[in-house]
Structures are given as C-alpha cells and as structure tokens.
C-alpha cells in the first residue's frame, strides 16, 4: 500500500518548508516533494503603491537578504526612471552587497550548516546546533559570529540599520559613505580575510570525510545560471545572465537581465507556494537549472580578485566540467566570502567611493523595468510595470530559492532514495534530507519565525490516512 513520509517543518533553514516522501507497496521511494507552506503575496499587494516605495516595501520580504531585494527593486526603478545612476552610487551599492554576502554566507556556513559538518550528520540532534558548535568548537563559533558582525557593519554603516536599511533608492542611494566609516570598514578587512582563509583551509582539510554526502547530495547533471561581468568573470551586483549546460557549454551568454522572460518560464505546482522557474527552450521540467554559490563558480571564467581566483581554480579542478554536487555549495560559499572581502577592499580604496554624487533624479520615463542581482542564495529578478503616474500596476519576482526549486526537489529525491530503507524512519535519515536542502541555503521567507524551539514531526501515513510511524524532535 503506498505511503507518505512528511517532514514538517524542515529545520535550520530560513522560513518554513515541508518535505513529503512517497513510498510504494515495497516501501521503496517513489517520489519526494519539497513544498513551501507559507503564502506571502507581495507581488499582489504592492499593486497601486508608488514605485518609489518598492525598495523599502520589498526588503521586508526577508530579514536575512533585505539588501538583495532593495537592490533588485532599485534597479528595476532605475529602469522606470530611465536614468543611468552615478558611478559612485554603483560602487557603494556594490559595497552594500558585499556586506550582505559576508553576513549571509557566514550565517549559512557557521550557524546553520556547521553543526552537520563538524558534529556529524549522525550526532545527537539535541547537540547538533549552534550551541553544540559553541561548546565543541568555541574559536570557530567566535569566528563565525565575528565574520557576521563585520558583514553586518558594512550594511549598518552604510544604511544606518543592520536589517531593512532604507538606503538604496531609485536613482542611487540616499547618503554617501563617510570617510570615518570607510576607514572603519578597511580596519576590519585583515581580520575578515584571516577568518575566511583559516575556515577555508579547515573545510578543505575535512572534505574527504563527506564522500557519501558529496555523491548523493544533489549530485546530478543540470543547467546553471548566474550573472557574469563583461569579461565573463564572477559578478554579483551588475552584469549579464549566463546559462551553461551540465557539461559546461555556454548556452546563453551576455543576456541583458531585462530579457529574462525569453529564457525563463515559470511553472506552479498545486502542493507549493514556491514557483518552479525553468529554462524555457527546454520546457518544464526538463529545463531545471541551479543558481547560487556553486552555480556562480561553475558559470564564470574566473574571479577578478587574486585570492578568490586561486581558490576558484582549485575548486574547478574537482571535476572536468562543472562541479555537480550541491554539497559543494558550502565550499563555494567560503570562496565567495573571500571574493567579496577582496572586492570590498578594492572598492574602499577607490577614491570615488567617497564621492557625494550618489543619486540621479527623474520622473517616470518608462512604464516597465527589470532589476536583477545575485542574492547570496542565487539570482534574483524584480520586474515592475507602472502607469504614467508611477503607480505599480504589476510585479513579478523570481527569488533565488525559486530558481533552485526544481533542483532542490531533485536533490531531496536523490537523498531519500539513497538513505531511506524500509518503513522505519531514523533521525539521521531525516537530518540528511534537511541537510541537502540546507546546502542550497534556501530563504523561504525570513519574516516568519518560530517562537522558541522549532518542533519537527515526521509522520509515516498510509494511503488511507492511517499513521503507521511517527518520530518527533523537540
């Protein structure tokens, strides 16, 4: 008799999700689905608002990556204004994105994933959390907290607030970088570099311990998408879209993000509020692609900063073509922290970064605009249409986790097919299902939080709705 295993909520990710595993009569895995169970509705309720409010409204989508949303929104609004924003504003927007990458990647690696990586996927779940890390690896925990603080400082010193800074605006930013804050940021760079390089060495030294996870955590052929600069190098704030196939061949390159609809289709499934974008020429669901740290390292020709470029070359030596296992997102994330710290230093040493010409002013010149940036989790699109008064008529957003939706589903299926054997549910099995999702660092919406501890209940249900096994975690 067919059965279902439900894992809800999935823990140590941002937001609330659920996994359902379908077993056949022989208790073999038939299918698995990752679903987002919360509804947000931002695209609908922004209709009628002045477009200039969009950066401040949409950054409330998220408490971890508000900067990404405000940047993508502002770029869409820049297009509606029809202005080219001043060069100093481009640079400090890039600096802001560096801050977000540092703090968000540090959160993902040190707080959310390191308990699995350092304490073990099979360790006691009561200790497999950030407090367990604090007790077992206090220096590493301190490093993670400090790195997050350094990233947070960039956001706070630019935007006056660490979360939801109303600083990026249509046409630029609303305040220049002060000399004092520039120097304070520069002073923190050596420590940030030291922490990141030390952690990278530590992680590379232990990667062989995860052969099984590397083999089974989302290790399959797929397309990859991300932004690259005009030279094809790694890029997170501006640039062009590049798609590659699973063998590393470029299938679309130097695509202006405003043309995204020619390449990306959006499907919906009735079991989830998260849409499933796909590469249009291949159709749904064959056009599955991945975004995020692993993807960005796979699609680019290299990094324009020396330390990250050296690490990237070593990373790409892992495989002949693109690196396929989603487990390597952890590794790629650390290389990206290194890259944004180097980029931050370059930007801060550019005299133009202190320039006060930071905003272009105009009224509505276009009725439509697309903004695109790389969020820490992957490529993010905001697409707006306005009337001649500048009131929002329509909005479409494709968030990074949406871009990864098909791949996350495929990854969950791969893990459950490998680890689920028979009717008994083990905690280690559940944790691996959750861990493969964590590898993508999904952001299902940070505005919904659990109060206190987050319970995890897994129920094995037959097709008549009868519970035949149940496991709960406090």
């Amino acid at each position: 008799m067919p059965k279902e295993i439900v894992i809800e909520p999935v823990t140590r990710i941002e937001g609330h999700g659920k996994v359902t595993i379908f077993l056949d009569d022989n208790n073999d895995v038939k299918d698995a689905r990752f679903a987002v169970t919360q509804f947000r509705g931002f695209e609908k309720f922004v209709e009628g608002r002045p477009f200039t409010e969009m950066p401040s409204i949409v950054e409330r989508i998220c408490g971890i990556c508000p900067v990404s949303h405000s940047l993508a929104a502002s770029k869409a609004c820049d297009a509606i204004l029809g202005v080219r924003i001043p060069s100093p504003a481009i640079k400090i927007r890039r600096l802001l994105n560096c801050g977000e990458f540092i703090q968000s990647h540090a959160l993902s690696f040190f707080h959310l994933s390191s308990p699995d990586l350092l304490l073990g996927f099979d360790s006691n779940p009561k200790e497999r959390n950030i407090v367990g890390i604090i007790n077992a690896y206090p220096e590493l925990a301190k490093s993670g907290i400090r790195l997050r603080q350094i990233g947070g400082h960039i956001v706070e010193w630019l935007g006056k607030k660490r979360v939801h800074p109303a600083w990026v605006v249509p046409g630029g930013v609303n305040e220049p970088l002060s000399l004092e804050h520039r120097d304070m940021m520069l002073r923190e760079i050596p420590e940030a570099l030291e922490i990141t390089q030390k952690t990278l060495r530590f992680f590379k030294g232990m990667i062989e311990d995860f052969r099984d996870e590397i083999r089974t955590f989302g290790n399959f052929p797929s397309m990859f998408l991300g932004l690259v600069d005009a030279n094809g190098n790694w890029e997170i704030t501006d640039g062009y879209l590049r798609f590659i196939d699973s063998r590393g061949h470029i299938v679309a390159d130097m695509v202006e993000p405003s043309r995204y609809k020619e390449f990306i289709g959006e499907a919906v499934e009735e079991y989830s509020y998260l849409k499933s974008p796909y590469y249009k020429p291949l159709g749904y669901p064959n056009g599955m692609y991945r975004v995020g740290p692993l993807s960005r390292l796979n699609i680019c020709n290299g990094f324009s900063t020396p330390l990250a470029n050296r690490e990237w070359a070593e990373f790409r030596d892992l495989e002949r073509g693109p690196v396929l296992s989603s487990f390597y997102n952890h590794y790629a994330r650390l290389i990206e922290i290194l890259a944004v710290i180097e980029l931050e230093e370059q930007l801060l040493n550019d005299p133009e970064i202190l320039d006060t010409h930071i905003r272009a002013y105009a009224s509505v010149n276009e009725n439509e605009g697309v903004g695109c940036v790389e969020a820490p989790r992957g490529t993010l699109f905001h697409h707006y249409k306005v009337n001649k008064e500048g009131l929002m008529q329509w909005a479409n957003m494709i968030v990074a986790t949406g871009n990864n939706n098909l791949a996350i589903n495929q990854s969950v299926l791969q893990v459950v097919q490998h680890y689920i054997k028979g009717q008994e549910i083990t905690e280690a099995m559940i944790n691996r299902v959750e861990a493969v999702i964590r590898a993508y660092d999904p952001c299902l919406s940070c505005s919904t939080h659990a109060i206190g501890q987050m319970p995890l209940i897994i129920t094995l249900v037959d097709c008549m709705g009868k519970v035949i096994d149940r496991l709960s975690r406090d």
Binding site: I134, K142, I145
Partner: protein, 145 residues
C-alpha cells in the same frame, strides 16, 4: 563599563518599551561610563558587542507580571539551553554564551515592566507609560550601584 540594552518591537505596542526607555536613559548617562543599545531581538550577533562590559542591564516588556508593574533583578547565566533557531536569545542565554565563548562573566540584570497591549501599532499603553519613570529610575539605580 556598563551596557544598557533596550530590546523589543516598536511596532507592537508595549513590546517597544525597552527601546523607549533606553532612549531616555541615554540622556541621563552622558559623562558616565555607560553605553546604550537598541535591538529588535537578542541574537548571537550581540555577543562580541557585549563582551567588553562588566555590567549589562537588559530592559524588556513582560507578560509574566501585572500591567504596569516594574521589576528589576539580577539574573544568572543559563547553561541548560539548546538552540535550534538563532533568531532570539534570552538575557540569561547571552550571559552563558559570553562565559563560554569570551570567558567573560559580567553581572547581568533585567528591568522589565508588565505590558498590556501588544497589537500591531506604535505607542505605549497608559499603564506602561505611567510606569516608565519608575523603570528608568530603577535602571539608573542599577547603573550607579
């Protein structure tokens, strides 16, 4: 060195009293060796900031005591907790983590006032507003002790 931390959500009525109080205290502690901070929530990120203080005073709203009641007392570190989410810590957990990670044992105090209204919206209920001078007075006493 003393740190005074007001925390809460200014958009949820009385929950914002910690921040309202710390903004007033800021004016009273000029020239003293006191720093004031405002936080939406207490998270792990505050640890490096607080690791340099000998005394930490947390100001919060409470649902455990009567509306408008003010209670200030010393708190001890909590070494019994586990954590699956990193979005919120208690003052007791902050003290514990300061000890484990930074080898620091500051004296910790909580000053709280019983809240009545936590609905969406700015503004403090009359009961809490009336108790604010007392809350600030008690905090100032702890600062100067």
């Amino acid at each position: 060195m003393v740190a005074v931390i007001g925390y809460g959500n200014m958009l949820r009525g009385d929950d914002g009293i910690g921040i309202v109080a710390v903004r007033q205290i800021k004016d009273f502690v000029k020239g003293l060796n006191v720093d004031t901070y405002e936080y939406h929530q207490l998270t792990i990120d505050v640890l490096p900031v607080l690791s340099v203080y000998e005394k930490i005073i947390f100001i919060d709203c409470s649902t455990d005591i009567s509306h408008g009641e003010v209670l200030c007392h010393q708190i001890e570190s909590d070494n019994t907790f586990t954590l699956t989410m990193t979005h919120h810590l208690t003052p007791q957990q902050i003290l514990q983590l300061l000890e484990v990670l930074y080898n620091k044992n500051p004296s910790g105090y909580i000053c709280k006032v019983g809240g009545r209204a936590f609905d969406f919206g700015c503004g403090i209920s009359k009961e809490v507003k009336d108790s604010t001078p007392r809350l600030i007075e008690d905090c100032m006493r702890l600062i100067k002790d």
